[in-house]
Structures are given as C-alpha cells and as structure tokens.
C-alpha cells in the first residue's frame, strides 16, 4: 500500500498541469458550495433576526381564537388578561410588550393608503423591537408626546409626509363603526425589512384605544404580547431557544397560543429552502464537471502508463493492486481538490463574515434581507464538501482504475 500510495501521489504531482486543472475545478465546486452555504446561513440568520427585531418578535402570545381568525385582525379576540400575560413573561426574565394590530387607513388629506397598524407601548416596545433605533427622522413614540405616530419611511414618502406633519387615520372601532382622528408624525423608521418601511404604522396604545373606542385601564384591549429572546449563536440555536421558551410559557399560560420564531418565520424559511435548492444546481453541475475531469485525468494517466502497468504486473502486482493504484490516484486528486476547495471556501467565508455584502441593491424584494449580509462559519458544510469531493473522486476513479486493471500484462508490455 505504501509503495502504491507513493507511486500514486508522485504521478499526481508529476502531471502537474492536468492535476492542477482537475483540482482547480474541484476547488471551484467545493468552495462555491461552502461560501454559498455560508451566505444562505447568513441570509437565514439575517432574515430571522430582522423578523424578530422589526416585525414579528422572537415569540408571540395571542389567543387561539385570534390566530384562527388572523386574516381579519379581530379586535374582539384579544388576550383576556394581558397584565397576567406580561407578568408571566417578566417572570421568565424576558422583556415583553403589548400590542394591538388593527387595519387602518392613513391619509395626508389628499391620498390615502391602507396599512396594518401596530399600537405599541412606546417604552416596552423599544425593549422587544429595534424600531426605536431605526428612526431616521424625528423621534420614536413617547408618552410625553401624545397623539403622535411613527411611519415607515417609504410610506411617508408615498404620502409626502414629513416629521411634524398632520396625518388622518381612519379605522373601524371595536363596535364596527368607522372612526377617524388626526395625529402628528413624530418620526420615520427605516429598517432592513422592506415591509416595515413600506407599510409600518406605529401609534401609542392609549391613542389607539381611543381611536378604536375601547376602554383603557386594567384588562384593556391587547391582541398580542411580543417577547424578545437573547441573540442565539446560530439560526438553529435561535429556533431551539424559541421552542424552549415557548414550552416554559405554555406551562405558565395554558390556554394561550404561543408561537416561537421557528413557527413565525416558517413561511420565510420554506420559501428560502425552495430557492436555495434551485440555487444549488450550478454547484452540483460544477462538481459533476470536476468528476468528469477526474475520470479524464486518470484515464490519460492510465493510457500514458500502459507499459508501466505491464511492468508492475510482470513483477507480481495483481489486477486488484493496479485498480487500487489508480483509485489512490483518484483519492490523491480528490484530497488535493477538496483541501483546496475547503481552504478557498474558508477564505471566502472569512471575507463574507468580516466584510459582508451590501444588499441595498436587492432590497426591493419582499424578503426581509436588506442591509449587510454576513456569512456564517459552517464547519459541517466544509466537512460535507470535503467528504463529497473525496467520494466523487473515488467514484470517478473507478472507471479508469477498472480499465487499467483489465489490461493483460502481455498486452500492456507490448503497448507502444
């Protein structure tokens, strides 16, 4: 085996140019696979973080009836005891914020745009969401400045509204009567989530309750309590952490529907997975090309060394030894290509992690993925890429190795 390995490795090195070409093709396939996976993991992470930070939170508590009828944002299916719900969340050491979601129409007295409004507790909300940090003009809501609202920057641009302008908001009250009132634009938010920028409308809970004609005080209307969880090290860790927190809260709040980030972002993740599998097709094609390259390289090696095979057979090597020799050459190529692929993949990963890619150009889409995309370290994918490259090489080497093993020593020695 040692001699075979020595001959295999030296032959691989001897035919440097074709070895380099084959290894480079493999390297491209594997490094693209690794960096692509890193970007996808980064995209997932970014999307899920953005979902948690700007739209859905890490965990949502609502009534089952509300969730069942969620399309109509029913105001009569809010939480029965919101204070107790918030207390249960606080008892877990987690920040929670009460919200009311309702359909509203926002007008600058000329044009009107329907929005899904969020009535928020300004200070508690800032502990759960990052909206308060995303204010690009004016200020976030404050109990000190009543009858103020915050709008998504795009929405404001669409309505030609600026900080300090008056805005007319119309909504159906809990009694199903249309009500309208005028508010002042306190601030504009610009977030990495296009949906918030285009349709975000935030109003203090107390003002919303007046608009919706629902009484304030203990037991006042709250359709959901949003909870923030500490930042996890990876997407899967975030999902596991969300599920664990949901289990604990279900025990404390039986009867409420508690959805962690894994369920809240399910539709995004399903969409992403579908897109990712299509995007992997070019990577698979590159790896197939490298497999063809390996078959070709080793076949060339076999044909240029027919007499050598004859000599080795004459000196007592069996056809099995010859097959092993060329399989080892495939392995050597595979190890070289895979190692290069993992090395370059890791380099691309580190560039993606350190520098990232600015997704500003792609922020027109509906996915919550604008901002700087940073990759994620993916040792498992590197291992998969490495093993895949080696296995592909071994499988590809089988064809020429079998051909070499089938050569009769007398024929091989006669070969010119």
């Amino acid at each position: 085996m040692g001699t075979l390995w020595k001959i295999a490795v030296r032959n691989t090195l001897r035919h440097g140019r074709r070895t380099i070409i084959t290894a480079v093709v493999m390297m491209v396939g594997i490094s693209v696979f690794i960096s692509f996976d890193s970007m996808l993991a980064g995209l997932d992470r970014m999307a899920v973080d953005n979902i948690a930070d700007y739209t859905l939170s890490s965990l949502k508590i609502r009534t089952p009836a509300y969730v069942q009828d969620i399309q109509s944002t029913p105001l009569d299916k809010g939480l029965a005891h919101p204070e107790e719900t918030l207390a249960a969340v606080a008892a877990q050491g987690l920040p929670g914020a009460a919200r009311i979601r309702f359909v509203a129409r926002v007008s600058n007295y000329t044009d009107e745009i329907p929005v899904l409004a969020d009535a928020v507790d300004p200070s508690a909300d800032a502990r759960v969401f990052k909206l308060a940090q995303s204010v690009t003009a004016g200020a976030w809501l404050s109990s000190a400045a009543p009858r103020s609202v915050v709008l998504g920057a795009e929405l404001a641009r669409e309505l030609k509204l600026n900080v300090g302008d008056a805005v007319l908001v119309t909504a159906q009250t809990v009694h199903d009567v249309t009500n309208a009132d005028e508010y002042t634009v306190a601030g504009l938010v610009s977030t990495p989530v296009p949906e918030v920028n285009r349709g975000g409308f935030f109003i203090p809970l107390d003002d919303a309750r007046v608009l919706l004609d629902t009484p304030p005080g203990p037991g006042a209307l709250v359709t959901e309590v949003d909870v923030a969880l500490p930042r996890a090290s990876s997407l899967s860790a975030a999902i596991v952490q969300g599920d664990a927190a949901a289990r604990r809260l279900r025990a404390a709040l039986p009867g409420e529907q508690i959805d962690p980030i894994g369920s809240l972002a399910a539709s995004y993740l399903a969409l992403r997975n579908a897109k990712a599998s299509y995007a992997l097709i070019p990577v698979i094609i590159v790896l197939i090309i490298s497999a063809v390259g390996i078959v070709n390289t080793i076949l060339m090696s076999v044909y240029s060394r027919v007499r050598e095979i004859g000599v080795l057979r004459a000196y007592g090597m069996t056809s099995r030894d010859i097959r092993l020799l060329f399989t080892l050459e495939g392995l050597a190529l595979g190890l070289a290509g895979s190692s290069l692929g993992v090395a370059v993949g890791a380099l691309l990963d580190s560039l993606l992690i350190a520098g990232g890619i600015d997704l500003a150009a792609f922020s027109q889409g509906s996915l919550p993925i604008s901002g700087i995309l940073r990759g994620e370290w993916n040792p498992r994918t590197m291992l998969i890429g490495f093993i895949f490259g080696v296995v592909v090489s071994l499988v590809a080497a089988r064809i020429p190795a079998r051909r070499a093993a089938r050569l009769e020593p007398t024929e091989a020695l006669r070969f010119q």
């Binding site: 080795l312 004459a314 000196y315 007592g316 007398t410």
Partner: protein, 236 residues
C-alpha cells in the same frame, strides 16, 4: 539442477476463425545458472515463449515445471504470486517507473513481494546498485540517466529478489554497440559470479556470442539447440 522444464508446450491464438500456432510443441530444459539466448526471426514465437516462461501467459497445451513444481491451472492471482517470488524481467525499453528514484525502482520487486523489512530491502537494493556500477546515483530519477544506465538499473531491479530466472526480452536492442557490450558483459559477469539464470530473446549477435546456449526457434518450433563456449570463457 533443472530450473525450467518445458514439455510439448503449445500456444495457439484464435482470432475469429483463424488460428495462429505461436508455439508448436516446445521441449526445452533450462538448467539453473544458464546464460541462454532464444533466437529466431520476428514472429517466430520468441516473445510468446518468454511470456509463458515468465508466467505472463499460460500455454494452450503442454507442461511447464518450474524448479520441480508444475504450475497448471493457476489463476491470475496464482500466476502473479509466482512471478512476484520467482521471476524477473529485463525489457528492451528498460521500463523503469519514471516517478521513482533509482533506489526505489530497484526496491520495487521487494516492496511488491512484501517479505522483507524496509532496512533489508534498502540494503539489498544498494548492494545491487553497487553491483551494476551505479553507486552514488541512488537518488536520481530515470530521466537523469543514460540508456545504458537505465538498463543497468533494470538489471539491478531484476536481480534484487534473487529470482529463479531472469527473462530478458531484447535487452540490448535500444543501446549503442559499446553500451550493449557493457550490458552484456555486466549480465555475463553476474551470471558467472552469482549463478543467476538468464534467458534472452534476441536478435543481437553480441548476446548470441556471449550465450553458452543458443536455442533457435522458427514457426513456433525449436529448430536448433546448441551449446557454445563464449569468447569470454574461451581458454578458461
């Protein structure tokens, strides 16, 4: 002592309906320590005979007894094992492994044989390299050697495992006459000093002149088998 005994050895190649009798009832006894040349025109069956003697090919009919053991019905593995242990080859185009050094080429048969430890393998290889006059060139690659030096390495490779017989197919055909003379002298010297058995297939008059026995083959049959007194031994 008889190293090889061939009895009515026949080799028939069939190509479709055609039948070629490459060997047609060969009877030869080769004694241990012989320096024997098999001569004959191209296509006479010399190479086929060497292939059969070297266990590279099996006869269609007849018996071959190697050192008292009849090898019959051996499969590919059995033939490989016998070659590994008992037979060595020297080829017309040297056929050294280009990626291995001189020493590694000479060690190769012992490494394939897997019988000795690495220290002994190296000792024997260096001894053979010295015997063929290439001391100091152990770490060179074949591309750094002349044709004559390459053939010397091939001879060292053939001798290192102390085989029953060394089969040399036109070993001087690619060499100029001076180098060919050196190579023949070298093999002759080794034959005299170590008693190694050499069987050549050759057209080279020089080899024939040095051979102690010349077997002539024509159309697959032995047409002459003469004992000679080579010039190097004349007068001894």
């Amino acid at each position: 002592m008889t190293a090889l005994h061939l009895e009515h050895v026949t080799k028939v190649y069939r190509k479709g309906e055609n039948e070629v009798r490459a060997l047609d009832g060969i009877d030869i006894d080769i004694e241990a320590g012989e320096f024997l040349a098999v001569v004959g025109p191209s296509g006479s069956g010399k190479t086929t005979l060497l292939n059969i003697l070297g266990c590279l090919d099996a006869p269609t009919d007849g018996r071959i007894v190697y050192d008292g053991t009849e090898l019959r019905g051996l499969g590919e593995k059995g033939m490989s094992a016998y070659r590994r242990e008992r037979i060595s080859f020297v080829f017309q185009s040297y056929n050294l492994i280009p990626v291995l050094t001189v020493r590694e080429n000479v060690e190769l048969p012992l490494l394939i044989e897997r019988r000795l430890d690495s220290r002994e393998i190296r000792r024997r290889a260096d001894e053979m390299i010295a015997a063929v006059g290439l001391s100091g060139k152990e770490d060179r690659h074949p591309r750094e050697l002349s044709g004559g030096q390459e053939q010397r390495v091939a001879i060292a490779r053939a001798l290192v495992k102390q085989p029953l017989v060394i089969l040399a197919d036109e070993p001087t055909a690619n060499l100029d006459s001076r180098t060919a003379q050196e190579i023949v002298d070298l093999m002759h010297g080794i034959n005299a000093a170590r008693g190694s058995t050499f069987v050549f297939s050759t057209h080279d008059r020089l080899v024939m002149e040095h051979a102690r026995r010349v077997v002539t083959i024509q159309d697959g049959r032995v047409t002459a088998d003469e004992q000679r007194n080579p010039p190097s031994e004349a007068g001894k």
